[in-house]
């Protein structure tokens, strides 16, 4: 039998963390482990801290609490740019439970929302108030502390795109997911960020593709160099959904479709 501790604040829960103690957000990851017996933890820690459910403006940006669910993201007008990624997570029941904070820790091929947050250059706010960028957080998430939420700047209109590729519609696990932030201040791309989900142990940026898009136009000719290097630096795995080989083969195809989505035909 496991022990369960419910703490009034996230800071209290953080102080109570330790070996073989696991923090639980929405439960979709932790309870799965608990149900299958012999979990790698003896205690489940949770909190009723209302701050985790907050969505609020902070200067020009937004703060989204770690306890905000996918369903809540889909319903919040100020988070409409994140709605396609939140909708990509599970079915309606899962989306009523799964939280932003949990998605940051979801192992591949899960983590569609985290992929979107990586492309958006979100910053992860830890329980002590310190922040780190998504890339650094994801690289060290196995040995990090508790997360309070993320802060992010909403993308310019139509500058953010998200695509999930799955074999089952409308709900299926990712073959891969792609999020792209595509600023075009003078008609050409500047500082584009491309993130892939299910193409590595955590969501990863396609940095070679990003570099190849610098100064490019969003047309077939402009994106061709980026597609040629789309999967470089990524590390997809074989799993029940797709082989690593297949993921590498189709990644440039789907990236191309996402980049040209809504662009005038040549």
């Amino acid at each position: 039998m496991l022990s369960v501790e419910t703490h009034p604040t996230l800071a209290d829960a953080a102080r109570a963390m330790g070996d073989r103690r696991r923090y639980m957000g929405g439960g979709t990851l932790v309870m799965r482990d608990a149900n299958y017996g012999a979990p790698a933890f003896d205690a489940i820690l949770r909190t009723t801290d209302p701050a985790l459910g907050e969505v609020r403006r902070e200067g020009d940006g937004l703060f989204v609490g770690a306890g905000v669910t996918m369903a809540r993201i889909m319903a919040a007008p100020e988070l409409s740019f994140l709605a396609p990624a939140a909708r990509a997570v599970g079915g309606p029941a899962v989306r009523n439970m799964a939280t932003l904070g949990g998605n940051l820790f979801a192992p591949a091929p899960y983590g569609d929302l985290a992929t979107a947050l990586l492309a958006l250059d979100a910053r992860v706010r830890m329980v002590d108030g310190g922040e780190q960028d998504m890339e650094r957080f994801l690289a060290g998430r196995d040995r990090t502390g508790l997360v309070a939420g993320v802060s992010l700047t909403p993308p310019e209109r139509d500058a953010f795109r998200f695509l999930k590729v799955s074999r089952v519609k409308p709900k299926g696990v990712s073959v891969l997911s792609i999020a792209a932030c595509l600023p075009r201040p003078a008609g050409r791309l500047a500082g584009a960020r491309i993130a892939f989900g299910a193409m590595g142990p955590t969501p990863l940026r396609a940095k070679r593709a990003e570099a190849a898009l610098e100064g490019a136009r969003l047309d077939a000719e402009g994106i061709a160099p980026a597609l040629a290097v789309a999967a470089e630096g990524l590390a997809p795995a074989d799993d029940a959904i797709a082989s690593a080989w297949y993921r590498r083969e189709v990644a440039p195809v789907h990236l191309g479709r996402l980049l040209l989505e809504g662009e005038p035909a040549q």
């Binding site: 496991l2 439960g27 979709t28 799965r32 489940i44 949770r46 079915g91 029941a93 009523n96 709900k171």
Partner: protein, 160 residues
């Protein structure tokens, strides 16, 4: 290790149970409360057979920590029929052959009820989306979608 008392509303009735640490709501409903209508399918959030409504919204009972259900309003298929007649969803599932082995049916019914409570006149696409987290390996889904749409039409007629 001691058990923890948890109280919640189960199909309209105040209910108190003692739960083991780490127990999920599905186990508590089936073994503690004796409501066998939500089913154990996968235990990992894939199949939807354990779908119940918590405060009106569909949740997977197998992934809900029992303690987290304290003070909440739980609805299961066992509470769908409130009078002598089956709920319209139940009857249209029967009449439309929307159940074969029946194992997914309680989860399908609760996912459908959540949809119709929020959207009395859903499109076919909305129905498909609403049951997208519920697996059926028998019917091929079309009779289920048809049954939900037929129940919705009947329920709208009653209100009108």
């Amino acid at each position: 290790m001691s058990k923890t008392p948890v109280t919640f509303t189960h199909n309209g009735a105040e209910t108190a149970v003692f739960v083991d640490g780490g127990a999920n709501l599905l186990d508590v409903l089936r073994r503690g409360v004796g409501d066998l209508s939500p089913k154990y399918g996968c235990g990992q959030g894939t199949c939807g057979a354990c779908t119940v409504l918590i405060d009106g919204a569909p949740h997977l009972a197998c992934l809900v920590l029992a303690e987290a259900a304290a003070g909440r309003r739980i609805e299961t298929t066992a509470g769908l029929q409130t009078g002598p007649e089956p709920h319209p969803l139940q009857r249209h599932f029967m009449e439309g052959f929307a159940a074969q082995c029946g194992y997914c049916t309680p989860g399908m019914l609760m996912a459908a009820k959540a949809l119709l409570d929020a959207s009395p006149n859903p499109s076919r696409e909305q129905v498909i989306e609403a049951i997208s987290g519920n697996l059926c390996r028998c019917t091929g889904y079309e009779p289920i979608v048809d049954a939900i749409l037929a129940a919705a039409a009947e329920m709208r007629g009653r209100v009108a």
